[in-house]
């Protein structure tokens, strides 16, 4: 639910955060990278192969993350699930930010009536719980990875839109824009050269943040059974499936959950360091 950020620009990380916090993140990113392009390299088993003899085995050397009710190797499923989970996360973040930029820009730069209208629209969307938007969308389009992307994207857009709006306005009223006006540059040129770049640049970091959040969101939809179709090993779906066995086979819930959290954290950490980097000026 932490998908929506308030209208203020993302919080400044204390520049003192030691770089070691990046190490695990980087490691995980590397791992995910491989899982993304060549899951078979990392996987130890066929993620779909049934092995009823080996059902519900706890983590062991043979099955690092244990096995599920049909004896499928959870570790391999997690690895293969990376692609879909990340795809959804990235997709949703992209959709969300794209929408946010359009709305935010309109609200900040559009002609007065348009801006006012968009402002109101944002208010309205903001009053809409994101999950509700998602539920409606899924009810309309039926559950699927694509709907999930759209749902999460649409759900998170308003929050970011407000942020973008704030950023643009800040840039618009900045000293350097005034200086550019004083230099006699045209409105369009100032927009292109100063306002948009400066307003949108922080979004690089925000994007990273929002990927993490989007994955959490998407997985909660899967968890409500509104996600991708089985036997896809998308992480949220894994979690949902494992729920039945939580008492006998807790790892089916705990591990995918940890993976999701770990990913979300990685994204956040990276995002914040990106932010810090940007704020530290050009380097």
């Amino acid at each position: 639910m932490t998908a929506l950020r308030p209208a203020r620009s993302p919080s400044r990380p204390s520049r003192r955060r030691a770089p070691w916090s990046l190490a695990p993140a980087a490691a995980l990113v590397g791992f995910l990278g491989i899982a993304l392009v060549a899951p078979q390299v990392l996987a130890t088993h066929d993620p779909f192969a049934l092995d009823y003899a080996a059902a519900l085995q706890p983590p062991s050397l043979a099955h690092w993350f244990g096995t599920d009710e049909s004896g499928r190797d959870l570790y391999s499923r997690v690895v293969f699930g990376t692609r879909e989970s990340l795809a959804i996360g990235l997709g949703a973040a992209a959709v969300g930010l794209a929408g946010a930029i359009v709305l935010g820009a309109l609200a900040a730069l559009g002609p007065r009536p348009v801006a006012a209208a968009v402002d109101r629209l944002l208010e309205v969307l903001f009053a809409f719980p994101a999950l509700l938007l998602a539920l409606l969308l899924i009810a309309i389009a039926g559950p699927s990875a694509l709907t999930q992307i759209l749902a999460v994207g649409v759900g998170t857009a308003p929050g970011y839109a407000r942020m973008v709006r704030g950023q643009i306005l800040a840039a618009k009223n900045s000293g350097y824009v005034q200086a550019a006006v004083a230099l006699g540059h045209t409105r369009w040129r100032i927009l292109r050269a100063h306002v948009l770049p400066n307003a949108l640049r922080p979004l690089v970091a925000v994007f990273a943040l929002s990927v993490g959040q989007s994955i959490v969101w998407a997985s909660s939809l899967s968890f409500l059974g509104l996600g991708v179709a089985p036997p896809s090993p998308e992480w949220g779906a894994l979690l949902d499936a494992g729920r039945t066995y939580i008492v006998q086979a807790g790892w089916l819930v705990v591990i995918p959950g940890l993976v999701i959290v770990a990913l979300a954290l990685t994204a956040t950490t990276l995002g914040r360091h990106l932010q810090a980097g940007l704020e530290r000026g050009e380097k």
Partner: protein
């Protein structure tokens, strides 16, 4: 400062094991002297909350069964025994049924349970008052009329010898005519007025319904264990969707009985010393009907190949942890009178046979993913299922097994979990949209076959015919069976119908739908009624 271990994973796993332990610990239930305690409140955790107490869902049948009485009841041997009706008979031609009612029974609103009321209820059901009762009756029911205070006549269009058996289902609970006529839909929905052992006290939506004892109860079924009002004062009928939570609540003593124990927890609950009830619902099992109108399954060979490609026994055995029985018969479940072993055993796991059949059917090539091709077309079949509504988690897991095994011989099965909303919106209801229909339908007799296989016609479309198999020959067999008075002969005919279905692989069974109960040892006398397996609390009582 010293480093502390930071790993969370072992911890988490440790927890689960710990829980398993504590689960057992709590299980070691109080050793009771067996002394009966008067009164008390039974806290019962059920799975799904219905929109109304009375209606066509099985949840509603279970619920209304506590509040409404039927004309007749079914005992453990499948015999129809008196309830509101003392005795009944069918005319020679089987077109007229006469029910004689008990003396002086009253609805809880004080109005008498008389022939008028009964007749009114029949009309009410057929008019849509209960969608399930409606489909059972509509094609046979002519009219009902009160002969006198205590005698009601039901007139049929065609003979239906097993009418009484059907009337034992919760869908046929008798309500007060006065209440139905004078009260609002809302009131009748939330608190129907019957003559049952309990009445609805309050419904906290999303949480529970409290039922309170009907102290003037006089109309207990003949197969009840005691007479007079119920022992317990109240039933707190909770709605707890998550199976794990239900069981945990039982183990921690928060509830006295729970419905639908997840198969995987069956053992630990049993070890916990809880009393387990397992009822295989008769009627249609959880089965796969093939789309015989469109797509690859129009070809019988392909249908048979699919059947041969599955080791259903293994899948169900593993996922069902030996609790859920596997079912080969696509027509009716093993608990149903007239069940055909032959039909059930028709297809055993035989991949080679499956491959031969597919080759024979012309699906000779295979693509890179091992999916069979016929003139370039891949052998792709769509299997939509009502996730969380028609199939529970176990069912979904079983379907994944089906997908995987079928893929061995070259089927590409696309599983589509369909949310209730879409189902209600009529998604995947046409031959073009799907290649399978999954689902069950509880019923006391094999008469369910008629509902599922009656041919669709212009004037009378049958949307319950999931295979879109409009075959007069099959219909003829079933119709004959329906109207055959002699049970032996009738069962033989029903069996013939099942084998007809099996031979042509119109539908294949997966597993039998269960109705399971787990009851705390301190609560005795809970039994599952024999028509649908719902919990019955009339005889229930606490013991010291």
């Amino acid at each position: 400062m010293r480093q502390r271990p930071r790993t969370t994973l072992p911890l988490a796993l440790g927890l689960t094991s710990m829980i398993a332990l504590s689960g057992c610990a709590a299980g070691s239930a109080s050793s009771s002297s067996g002394e009966r305690v008067e009164g008390g409140t039974i806290v019962y955790a059920h799975q799904q909350e219905p929109p109304c107490v009375f209606g066509g869902w099985i949840e509603q049948a279970y619920l209304s069964y506590q509040v409404l009485d039927n004309l007749v009841s079914l005992d453990e041997d499948g015999e129809v025994v008196p309830w509101l009706a003392e005795e009944w008979s069918a005319s020679e031609d089987g077109l007229t049924w006469t029910f004689t009612l008990q003396e002086g029974v009253q609805f809880t609103d004080g109005t008498p349970v008389d022939a008028e009321a009964i007749a009114y209820n029949f009309d009410y059901w057929v008019a849509g008052g209960n969608s399930t009762a409606q489909v059972w009756l509509q094609d046979y029911y002519e009219s009902a009329n009160a002969v006198d205070e205590r005698t009601v006549e039901i007139h049929l269009k065609a003979p239906y010898p097993r009418l009484a058996d059907n009337l034992t289902q919760g869908y046929f609970g008798i309500q007060s005519q006065h209440a139905l006529e004078t009260r609002s839909d809302e009131e009748n929905c939330a608190a129907p007025i019957g003559s049952g052992a309990f009445t609805v006290e309050h419904w906290t939506r999303g949480q529970n319904i409290t039922l309170v004892r009907n102290d003037e109860y006089t109309s207990w079924p003949a197969n009840a264990e005691h007479t007079g009002p119920a022992y317990v004062e109240r039933i707190d009928w909770r709605f707890v969707p998550d199976g794990t939570t239900r069981v945990a609540a039982l183990q921690s003593g928060e509830v006295d009985a729970v419905y639908d124990v997840p198969a995987v927890q069956w053992q630990s609950v049993e070890d916990g010393g809880f009393e387990l009830h397992r009822y295989i619902t008769p009627g249609r099992p959880q089965q796969l009907s093939f789309d015989t109108k469109e797509g690859p399954f129009t070809d019988q060979l392909v249908r048979q190949a699919f059947a041969y490609s599955l080791d259903r026994e293994e899948i169900v055995g593993t996922i069902g942890h030996g609790v859920i029985p596997w079912e080969g018969n696509g027509g009716v479940s093993q608990a149903t009178p007239g069940y055909s072993e032959k039909a059930a055993g028709w297809y055993s796991y035989d991949p080679d046979r499956a491959n031969e059949l597919l080759d024979e059917a012309g699906w000779t090539e295979r693509n890179s993913d091992g999916v069979r091709l016929k003139d370039g077309e891949p052998l792709k079949v769509v299997l939509p299922y009502g996730a969380g509504s028609i199939l529970n988690a176990d069912g979904a897991a079983i379907l994944q097994g089906v997908k995987e095994q079928a893929s061995e011989v070259g089927f590409d099965v696309e599983l589509v979990p369909v949310p209730q909303s879409e189902l209600f919106a009529g998604a995947y209801s046409t031959p073009e949209e799907r290649d399978f229909e999954v689902g069950y339908w509880t019923s006391v007799t094999a008469g369910i076959l008629y509902i599922n296989w009656r041919p669709s016609t212009e004037e009378a479309p049958n949307y319950n015919n999931g295979a879109f198999y409009d075959d007069p020959e099959l219909a003829a067999i079933i119709l004959e069976a329906n109207s055959t008075a002699d049970v032996e002969a009738q069962n033989a005919l029903y069996a013939k119908a099942q084998e007809y279905i099996a031979e042509r692989a119109l539908a294949i069974g997966l597993y039998d739908r269960l109705s399971t109960l787990a009851v705390d040892p301190s609560l005795r006398g809970v039994w599952q009624e024999h028509a649908q397996g719902g919990p019955t609390f009339y005889d229930a009582h606490f013991v010291q």
